[in-house]
Amino acid sequence: MLVLVEQSLNGLQFGLLLFLLAAGLTLVFGIMDFVNLAHGSLYMMGAYFAATFVAWTGSFVLGILLALGATLLLGILLEFIALRHLYGRDHLDQVLATFGLILFFNDAVRLIWGPAGLSLPLPAWLTVPVQIVPGVFYPAYRLSIIVVALAVAALLYVVVMRTRIGMLIRAGASNREMIGALGINIKLLFTLVFGLGAALAGLAGLMQAPILTVQIGMGENILILAFVIIVIGGIGSIRGAFLAAIFVGMIDTLGRAFLPDLLRTVLSSAAASTAAPALSSMLIYLLMAIVLVVRPEGLFPAAKR
């Protein structure tokens, strides 16, 4: 029972992290109609920036804030130099160009930081376990990820649904040409949305960094997961991304935690320990395949153009 609570919390934490990544992706996709494979690279850059700035300033909080700003700037720069010329192009062109950017970022990181991974040590006040219900302890850092991600999700909701800029974003998602015709500076809006997406990806990366090592290619697996999430949730839908992300996070974590034991009841122990991780990784793709076959537009399709 205790394990179940702990693993569910882990699943929730992973799901929320995935949401941060997927939210940026789905915003950019929904509004600019732009497939950005390099989103995972921004996630990686967020983690590398954080590891560097924390070591540099000696302060965890300051380092993370600097890293967040740096990823935001990098995103805006990337959009300004290269990606804005790809809006309105074929999706395939976008996939190809951003695939090139992945290659570039991976080698750029290898050149600057070297091939070995970095680690981002936590400050002492984040390593203590917290008692959430009597008898159940949970690492403070993972708990803080849940809190921060929920806060960001709430903030995103308020910004998108309750502010003028959010109104423009939603309008842009349903009809780009029209809001341009109404005199909105659509280029600026796009740059802003892209920067926001980059910052969210960076935030996800730097929050994940203390749990895993900061390494080259860390953004690639998780990028595919984020794509699965926005496809399950319906492209352009933040609400869909949120629910799908929690769902995927839970399935992934619980599958990894409980499938090995479950399989051991039917298979030999050795076969189960190889088959289980493979099977739990597959579950998510299976889910996506089923969703797409049953509802080809995802669970919560954004408003039709």
Partner: protein, 315 residues
């Protein structure tokens, strides 16, 4: 349909000639490396050509084409591991399994369009990737070493570099010829018609998805053949063969050479892999140049190398 004489066709013929004469050059100069490199290139060119059939002519953007490389390869590897060394069994099995996989995922994926199609093909390829990493009997994540290449009863010796190269080249030329015949057949015309305007084709009485599915299966089967060749070339097969970046590489090769041109993918593959080889000799960080180069190609060279050649020859 008669071939015309224009810049792209002349280049294609020259490239085909050079590929045919390559072993002579290699023997004359004693440069074995170039033969090994080009064996790999020819195999990937076959895979890229098969991808071009559905991407360029069928309008189906598959982001999971590397799965067939893995499936074809594993069919050969697993049969060899179980003691069945005959190529007359291994290769038909590789083709049949690839065709079956293509049929199943095609039937499901073709319900979706556009980006959703890109993503669902990717998802299925990732599933195949994880299935093979879970095969503990066949090495799991670490992959499977193939100790003996496919045995064709003395007809051809796959361990002989030159013979193996010519076998790969014959498969490539055969594949490209097959695709040429398909594209110019009634069937191919329907598939291209569906790409241009699905509704109209439906309205005049064609089952668009049936034609698409058959095209998808043919493409997957050809790529499965490339997988069987690849496994024999490397004497090794691992899940990494079907990792999603490999599917991305295949897409790059097709688009670089020119999507929807018959010989474009072959040239794209040569340029991509040779560039990778040359750049990695200059610097360890070859992707620093390759990445932005891809971006520039997408931004400025529409239609890939063949597209640029076509424009040049008209100008």
């Amino acid at each position: 349909m008669k071939p015309h004489i224009n810049a792209s066709n002349v280049i294609a013929a020259l490239v085909a000639l050079c590929l045919t004469l390559l072993p002579l050059y290699s023997a004359a100069t004693g440069n074995i490396f170039i033969l090994t490199l080009f064996t790999r290139i020819v195999i990937f060119a076959l895979a890229a050509a098969s991808l071009n059939l559905i991407m360029g002519y069928g309008g189906m953007m598959s982001f999971g084409h590397a799965a067939y490389l893995g499936i074809g390869g594993y069919a050969v590897g697993i049969l060899a591991y179980e003691g069945i060394g005959s190529g007359f069994i291994q290769w038909p099995v590789a083709l049949a399994v690839s065709a079956l996989y293509a049929f199943v995922i095609g039937a499901l994926s073709l319900r979706t369009r556009g980006v959703y199609f890109i993503m669902i093909t990717l998802a299925f390829a990732q599933m195949a990737y994880y299935v093979t990493s879970g095969l503990s009997r066949y090495g799991g994540d670490d992959g499977l070493t193939i100790y003996k290449r496919s045995n064709f009863a003395g007809l051809i010796d796959l361990s002989n570099r030159v013979q193996f190269y010519y076998l790969c080249l014959a498969c490539l030329f055969g594949g490209v010829y097959l695709i040429w015949r398909i594209v110019n057949s009634r069937f191919g015309m329907v598939v291209q018609g569906v790409r241009s305007n699905e509704q109209r084709m439906q309205a005049i009485g064609f089952h668009a998805n049936r034609y698409r599915l058959v095209c998808f299966v043919i493409s997957g089967t050809i790529c499965g053949l490339a997988g069987a060749l690849l496994a024999n070339n490397t004497d090794f097969i691992s899940p990494a063969t079907m990792y999603w970046t490999r599917s991305g590489d295949l897409m790059v090769m097709v688009i670089l050479g020119g999507m929807g041109s018959l010989f474009g993918p072959v040239i794209g593959t040569i340029v991509f892999l040779v560039l990778e080889e040359v750049l990695s000799q200059f610097t360890e960080y070859w992707a620093l140049i390759m990445g932005p180069l891809l971006l520039l190609i997408v931004l400025f060279a529409h239609g890939g190398i063949m597209g640029v050649l076509g424009r040049l020859s008209r100008a």
